[in-house]
């Protein structure tokens, strides 16, 4: 099933080397990953194993040293960037969920979510309509006009998920999205990510250390010394 996931995420032999010569460090030696649309996979590994580097490569914020990456059926990297405008790629085809929500403090909840489609050129009214739909789906529509500082941690994270989904990207990269949350809220966030992945046919990679949520993944990629190993997860709780 995973081999047919041409519209999700496909990574083959991805490498990343920092520096050169004697001081060179191979952060990623050989990474293979595939995530199907509608699937949520976990990426776990000890500190310094290369998780963040992999996420930065996938997010097109640093350039890999070699290998291939395909997002949503489009090759974005094959021993060099295949897309000239990485900013538009990040805006339109990749959603980001961070450890802290990092909402824009001077925009209300609706505009935090609507900002991305506005940046993409959508009219304000249409962008806000799309944002409100997502806020309803994520059960935070009642806080639509609140400022980020007025929200609880869980609400902020749900708004950041709405922001990641608003441009309907084929891929979402979540960097420790449950780290600041208690067990109940952490599981709620993972439940939402699973729902959204299925609803919007989005491939989601969740980087985590969080022992509470690791059993929820059906598939897990372990990354050690810059290499990935796939294993089956328990997939508990979200059948």
């Amino acid at each position: 099933m995973v081999e047919q996931a041409v519209d999700g995420i496909r990574i083959e032999g991805l490498r990343k080397r920092y520096g050169s010569g004697d001081t060179a460090v191979d952060a990623l030696r050989h990474v293979d990953m595939q995530v199907a649309p509608g699937e949520v996979v976990g990426l776990i590994g000890p500190s310094g194993s290369g998780k963040s580097t992999l996420l930065k490569c996938l997010g097109a914020v640093i350039e890999p040293s070699g290998g291939r990456m395909t997002l949503g059926g489009q090759a974005i990297y094959a021993d060099g960037w295949r897309i000239p405008d990485l900013r538009s790629l990040r805006r339109d085809r990749i959603g980001f969920v961070f450890q802290a929500p990092y909402l824009i403090p001077f925009l209300d909840v609706t505009d935090n979510v609507a900002l991305l489609p506005m940046l993409a050129g959508l009219p304000n009214g249409e962008a806000r309509r799309r944002a409100r739909e997502l806020l309803e789906a994520l059960d935070v529509a009642h806080r639509a006009s609140a400022m980020p500082a007025q929200l609880s941690g869980g609400e902020q994270q749900r708004v950041s998920i709405a922001r990641a989904l608003v441009n309907r990207p084929p891929v979402i990269l979540a960097d420790e999205p449950t780290a600041p949350l208690d067990s109940e809220r952490a599981l709620a966030v993972i439940r939402i990510l699973n729902q959204m992945a299925r609803q919007f046919d989005t491939a989601i990679i969740v980087v985590t250390h969080d022992e509470k949520i690791i059993p929820t993944f059906r598939r897990i990629y372990h990354i050690r010394d810059g290499r990935t190993e796939e294993e089956a997860g328990e997939g508990r709780g979200f059948e």
């Binding site: 998780k51 963040s52 580097t53 996420l55 930065k56 997010g59 914020v61 640093i62 900013r87 538009s88 790629l89 990040r90 805006r91 339109d92 980001f96 961070f98 450890q99 990092y102 824009i104 403090p105 001077f106 925009l107 505009d111 900002l115 991305l116 506005m118 940046l119 993409a120 304000n124 400022m147 922001r163 960097d175 420790e176």
Partner: protein
């Protein structure tokens, strides 16, 4: 697209408003400094306009009577009146001194004019209260800025004068109020010595054998008499008949009377270009320093505000916000701060300008130039913050 800068300003309005008020007070000081310079220039022009003269006849090789001392005989005006094209000519003396009234004294320019010469050049052109000088001695017409009132008794040197009239905007090029007194009194005030000095001078003269010649009785008395009067004035102000060119009349006076003559334009050039030039440079230096301080404040505030948003900027860049959108946000905030500052500064300057002891003239042109300078300063000041924002790595938004 929503205005990120506007939303940020609304969100942190207190910070922006208080910073803007602080900046505004600085801009207010800057506008006031410009107003002080304009006031000096206007005072100089008012001095020339209110004198009613077309030509200033002064001692040869001097820039008198305002920029340098000048002394010419007080009968020169008669020969000037005989020249074609001259309508009126009047003697005038100027002396800047402390004028006492009871316990207080006022810095003033004492002007000696011919009493009863209403409409003559040098006379106050209009009064706001009282009457013009009519008696030959001990009357004064004072500018309102002196603080004197009708009926006040003021002391100039040893003599007491009664204020019989009040005028307005009659000031020296330095902004000191003018006090008009009869010409003879003014001549005496300029050269009057104290009694002891007069006694000593007479004794010295009497002891000089050259003035005590046998067979020449009365020589000593004649010499002493010439030493006791002052037949000099500082300038003769000349009004021309309609249709005559000032330079055409000035040239024969220079040639035949051996005197220096200045036209209105030349006198203005002397006042503005020489008399207040140093003050203008001083104010110019202040304006430059204030502009630099304003720029530093705006740069510091905007830079600090930007550094406080580094993580948000990293997120904005990561999610695909263009650099120009981020730069625009910072620039708009800097301009917003500048505009708040300018409005506060303009209002402040307008409120406090009348309380300055010297005339502060706020002209719309200076306000427009000030606004332009604020805009330029804000643009330059925001460059540092924009540079910092553009250097933010979007990867900073991702942990590790």
């Amino acid at each position: 697209m929503i205005s990120l800068a506007g939303r940020d300003i609304l969100h942190a309005w207190g910070k922006f408003v208080f910073t803007g008020v602080g900046l505004g007070l600085l801009i207010g000081v800057t506008l006031t400094m410009a107003g002080v310079y304009r006031g000096m220039v206007d005072d100089a022009r008012a001095l020339l306009d209110n004198s009613g003269a077309d030509l200033w006849v002064v001692q040869q090789n001097t820039l008198g009577p305002y920029a340098e001392s000048s002394s010419i005989q007080d009968d020169v005006y008669r020969s000037l009146l005989g020249m074609p094209g001259v309508a009126r000519a009047a003697n005038v003396t100027y002396l800047t001194m402390q004028v006492r009234q009871g316990e207080r004294d006022v810095r003033a320019m004492v002007v000696g004019v011919v009493p009863g010469g209403l409409g003559e050049p040098g006379q106050p052109p209009y009064l706001v209260a009282g009457r013009h000088l009519t008696r030959g001695h001990y009357e004064a017409v004072a500018d309102l800025a002196s603080g004197f009132r009708l009926g006040d008794r003021v002391q100039i040197r040893r003599n007491q004068y009664t204020v019989v009239g009040l005028t307005r905007r009659m000031v020296s090029s330095g902004g000191d109020p003018m006090i008009f007194i009869p010409l003879k009194d003014a001549q005496e005030a300029q050269f009057l010595k104290d009694n002891d000095a007069i006694v000593r001078q007479r004794r010295r003269t009497a002891e000089n054998p050259a003035f005590d010649r046998p067979g020449v009785p009365g020589l000593l008395d004649a010499v002493i008499a010439t030493q006791s009067v002052n037949p000099y004035v500082n300038a003769v102000l000349v009004q021309l008949q309609p249709g005559f060119d000032a330079e055409e009349i000035a040239e024969p006076i220079r040639r035949w009377q051996r005197l220096q003559v200045y036209t209105r334009g030349q006198m203005e050039a002397i006042l503005v270009g020489k008399l207040i030039a140093t003050s203008a440079k001083q104010i110019g230096m202040f304006l430059v320093i204030l502009a630099i301080v304003s720029a530093a404040i705006v740069a510091f505030i905007i830079y600090t505000l930007t550094l406080g948003k580094i993580r948000e900027i990293a997120v904005l860049k990561l999610i695909g916000t263009r650099n120009r959108t981020i730069a625009g946000m910072i620039l708009q905030q800097a301009l917003g701060l500048g505009l708040i500052g300018f409005v506060v500064g303009k209002i402040s300057a307008t409120i406090w300008a009348p309380f300055f002891p010297k005339y502060v003239l706020l002209v719309p042109g200076d306000a427009a130039r000030g606004l332009l300078a604020v805009v330029v300063i804000c643009i330059l000041a925001s460059l540092l913050a924009i540079r910092a924002a553009l250097k933010v790595d979007p990867a900073e938004a991702i942990g590790g």
